[in-house]
């Protein structure tokens, strides 16, 4: 068996999130098939586009800066329409949130209370913190200054998730399910026939330099 040195370099690039194409060109056809099997495996984790990538591609496609993007204007108009129907309940939040792939619902209904769980200063961009408040356990994280909260309980069998920094994912120690930072299922549990629902969001707000969560 040859030592597949170049294939190994391609695989390392792949795992680092970079394109293995420069290495791929020098591989023989069997090695290329092996690399593509690895790409397919890696790709099966599912991954969301980065916000920054979407913004930069948007800027490239629509170079004239407009004060209000069509999308915002469109959602705004939609908001007005929906406000009439729903009396405005939860509307701001919906308009501001990412487009949900599933019927997202907040974890705690209206009979909750705000509880401070962390100092805002202790959660800079890119960090994740686990919390326990009242009956709920969750993760807090900061993406470009926006604080988000998610339930920490796996939607498969209810185990408590861990944060895996390397993969930027929430991983279940019980059956290996893996959730993206958006809460969406990324992978597994292997052999389970249905896609798991996403992790429910936990409402957060900041008051006096503290991050508070809505809990019971």
């Amino acid at each position: 068996m040859s030592d597949h040195e170049q294939l190994d370099r391609a695989l390392d690039e792949l795992i680092a999130g970079r394109s293995p194409r420069a290495q791929a060109e020098g591989l023989d056809s069997e090695e290329q098939r092996m690399l593509r099997a690895a790409q397919l495996l890696r790709g099966s984790r599912g991954e969301e586009p980065d916000d920054e990538f979407i913004e930069s591609l948007h800027a490239r496609l629509f170079p004239t800066p407009t004060k209000v993007s069509r999308r915002t204007a469109f959602l705004g108009a939609l908001g007005g329409l929906a406000a009439g129907i729903l009396g405005g309940v939860g509307l701001q939040r919906w308009v501001a949130s990412e487009k949900p792939a599933y019927p997202h619902t907040a974890l705690v209904g209206k009979n909750g209370r705000w509880v401070a769980v962390a100092d805002l200063a202790a959660l800079p961009h890119g960090t994740v913190k686990a919390f326990k408040a009242g009956h709920i356990q969750g993760f807090l994280f900061n993406r470009h200054g926006q604080i988000r909260g998610l339930s920490r309980i796996c939607t498969h069998m209810g185990c408590r998730l861990d944060f895996e920094e390397k993969e930027q994912a929430f991983v279940c120690p019980c059956h290996g399910a893996e959730f993206a930072m958006s809460g969406r299922l990324r992978y597994g549990p292997r052999g389970y026939p249905l896609p798991l629902p996403p992790l429910p969001p936990v409402e957060t707000r900041t008051r006096d330099g503290k991050i508070e969560v809505w809990t019971v």
Binding site: M1, H4, L7, D8, L11, E13, L14, I15, G17, S19, P20, R21, A24, L27, S29, E30, Q32, R33, M34, L35, R36, A37, A38, L40, L41, R42, G43, S44, R45, G46, E47, E48, P49, D50, F53, L57, R60, L61, F62, L86, V89, L91, W94, P100, P103, H104, T105, A106, G109, K110, G112, E164, K166, E167, Y187, G188, R190, G191, P195, R205
Partner: protein, 183 residues
């Protein structure tokens, strides 16, 4: 954002595209599923971003606003498959088969653009993994699903790094054979 929100049914409701659809709406709606589709094949952020950009730059030139929403979805994924096929042809010269006729990935997004387009690949991967011996499967899971290095994989399995490498190569060879014409 002061008070707690009540769960709202609104979240499940999807806005229709404007009529006639303009590219900015099409972009907002489809950038996520197109990216996911491409990522599910290339397995890395850099290629997925490059190819997604290519798809929408092409779309910007060719979007026919007379199309219906369903046909735009179908057309966009056809563009995405062509871009992907060109990518394989360009960098993987040795005649690797091109998954152009993969009707499973074509069918889902056309009718349900928000569906995770990697589902069909996930199923293929499950099948392939299930067909491998335990140690092969473990190495592939640790390496490519969990992103472990060779050293970390070896440690987790209690084997030497050299051994982990050899098992990895054999497992990938077997996986490539098992995924057969679909790869």
């Amino acid at each position: 954002m002061g008070e707690a929100a009540e769960p709202t049914a609104l979240a499940t409701w999807r806005a229709p595209l404007s009529d006639p659809p303009d590219l900015e709406d099409v972009f907002s709606r489809f950038v996520d599923p197109v990216y996911r589709f491409l990522y599910s094949h290339v397995g890395n952020r850099e290629d997925a971003e490059d190819l997604t950009s290519e798809v929408f730059l092409k779309a910007a030139k060719q979007l026919d606003s007379a199309r219906s929403e369903a046909s735009i979805a179908k057309w966009l994924f056809t563009v995405a498959r062509t871009v992907l096929a060109d990518h394989w042809r360009k960098y993987y010269r040795s005649g690797v088969r091109v998954p152009l006729e993969d009707e499973r990935v074509g069918a889902a997004p056309a009718s349900e653009p928000d569906v995770t387009t990697s589902d069909s690949n996930a199923r293929l991967v499950d099948e392939v993994l299930a067909g491998l011996p335990e140690r092969y499967r473990t190495v592939l899971e640790l390496r490519f699903l969990r992103g472990y290095s060779i050293a970390e994989t070896a440690r987790a399995m209690g084997i030497t790094p050299e051994n982990a490498k050899v098992i990895q190569h054999r497992a990938l060879g077997k996986a490539a054979a098992l995924s057969g014409g679909r790869l």
